[in-house]
Symmetry: C2
């Protein structure tokens, strides 16, 4: 396969190169694209140096089979027709096309088959927090349909990019040195703090990030009967997101049934042994592929409810890994 | 009033001295008690030096009107009869007596009048996370009775004491220096991490901390119709707790009604102006008295639901301030 990465110098772009290699993805040629600023940089992939080309409106994508695009929504919108002009499949990490009816929104463990319905040659990679959650929800929905979800997120700095992770580390050094911390990547200081504000606010008081969890979950899980009320919070963690989730199902699902289903579910590892202090933590999930699920128990406030806690790497399953898994799903099932 | 503090050298003990002064509490004499280890230490209170006496089974509490006790549950249990022997009112910060039928559990803004029913001369100060939440819930329950609460907490290091706060700061310094972080106060490294485990696990999979939020909320709010399902998580924040709360009421309460009621509620400050990036954050709540409430909006997964976010100082309203406010309530209403 001739593969391209657009946004090669970003946190997700860099991870995409690692994941392509980790998953032994069949890459004949890798072409890297980036902004004018990052053009000319060189990265090694499977022993070969790849130089980043500037992304332009030309015929550069002719002959490329799959382009993984992670350079922000405006770049995705502007370049979608250039990228797909000669039939290249665009797997887009931005939110630009996620809710478009003719663009599938895919988490392979949940709705992989949707990846074959690509009239525009675009597949959208869902929001990171949503991906991690639906991988777990799928196992429960297979036992009984899901009606409502309440979710509080604990989102790492990585969701705002590599520079945001650097800023968090720098803030701790500055505070330790008695200096005022640099605040550029988030609305406020994140070190020793929490910021209940990710993406912009919408008219109903929810942020776009929170509404993505509602809208994208319904689209991925093919159900408009599911409602999701989310509160998304940035926490001073580097690269794995965590979530406290309450699920109400049509008929009751016991913690034992859920645990068994989750243990068998693709992409999930159950870490749920309180007696041994075993539960998911973002530090353990960092750099790993699975969604770790634990603290599985009855919702004592709802007879049809379950609650659990999950952690998963935001850059891998939340972004780069899921994108490559979409491509892999298509190859394996074509 | 002759006042005593038991556990004077701890984080809460130290804050109790500050709060007594901040609230102009009428203190004629302050007597400090502590363990053998802290006996002999001296602290200044209103310009006078107070030396910590070792807590012993003797007649030291004769003549003391109120004793604020914050030295752990086992000390509270062991010394309750010694402390109350001559009629001293014991305001206890531990969980030792909270659920005892003949011990009131008091948050003055919610159930202050309960403080007058003290057959054992003991009043219990509730769990910190519960105090912060019920101050906000009260305003909503006054509009329509509360049925269910789902709450995800984001709890600061201070809940585990002053040494735990120091350990968190030290961990960042150690990580920056490339050293392995010291892990003594929590089950795992807290720096750059989250630990979904506060207090010990119970048979139903919830921790004691989580069950306190259920049981204590019902007792404080005088309602066995309320169920609370909590997930309590330790986060790398120093001294203010935060909570994502979903509330289901008997009849719908609009965000506008809730906001208005919360704005008028004792002990609450509403910080809820997304357009101006105004919402509660633990860094802003640290060292402050109110419970800050924001992100008030409809629960889009429940027609009778509301959701909000709060932050409040764990050592002040979560512990020392509430204890002194209980004493103040009694004085002002006697």
């Amino acid at each position: 396969m001739n593969v391209a990465i657009v946004g090669a110098s970003g946190a997700v772009g860099q991870e995409l190169m690692k994941v392509l290699d980790d998953l032994n993805f069949p890459v004949d040629n890798l072409t890297l694209f980036g902004s004018k600023r990052s053009a000319g940089r060189s990265y090694s992939f499977r022993g070969k140096d790849c130089v980043v080309k500037e992304l332009c409106h030309n015929d550069d994508f002719r002959g490329i089979d799959i382009a993984f695009v992670s350079a922000g929504g405006s770049t995705s919108k502007e370049f979608a027709s250039t990228i797909t002009k000669y039939g290249t499949l665009m797997i887009d990490n931005s939110s630009a096309f996620r809710m478009d009816k003719d663009v599938p929104l895919v988490v392979p463990e949940v709705n992989g088959a949707d990846a074959f319905n690509t009239p525009r040659r675009i597949i959208a990679n869902p929001n990171c927090t949503t991906i991690l959650m639906v991988v777990a929800l799928k196992a429960i929905a297979d036992i009984s349909p899901i009606k409502r979800v309440h979710v509080a997120s604990y989102q790492a700095a990585s969701g705002a990019g590599a520079a945001a992770m650097d800023e968090l580390v720098k803030q701790y050094a500055q505070i330790a040195a008695g200096e005022a911390p640099t605040v550029e990547k988030f609305a406020y200081q994140l070190a020793y703090n929490l910021i209940p504000h990710i993406d912009v606010f919408t008219d109903n008081g929810y942020t776009k990030e929170e509404m993505k969890m509602h809208n994208e979950t319904r689209k991925i899980m093919h159900s408009d009967d599911i409602s999701v009320s989310a509160t998304c919070v940035r926490v001073p963690v580097l690269r794995a997101h965590s979530e406290s989730v309450w699920v109400e199902t049509e008929s009751p699902v016991s913690p034992e049934e859920a645990r068994e289903a989750l243990a068998k579910a693709d992409g999930v590892v159950v870490v749920d042994n309180p007696a041994e202090k075993a539960y998911p933590m973002p530090l353990d999930a960092s750099g790993k592929d699975p969604v770790y699920v634990g603290r599985i128990r009855r919702d004592i406030a709802n007879p049809n409810g379950l609650t659990f806690w999950l952690s998963g790497d935001q850059i891998r399953k939340g972004a780069a890994l899921n994108a490559v898994q979409i491509a892999q799903y298509i190859l394996n099932n074509s």
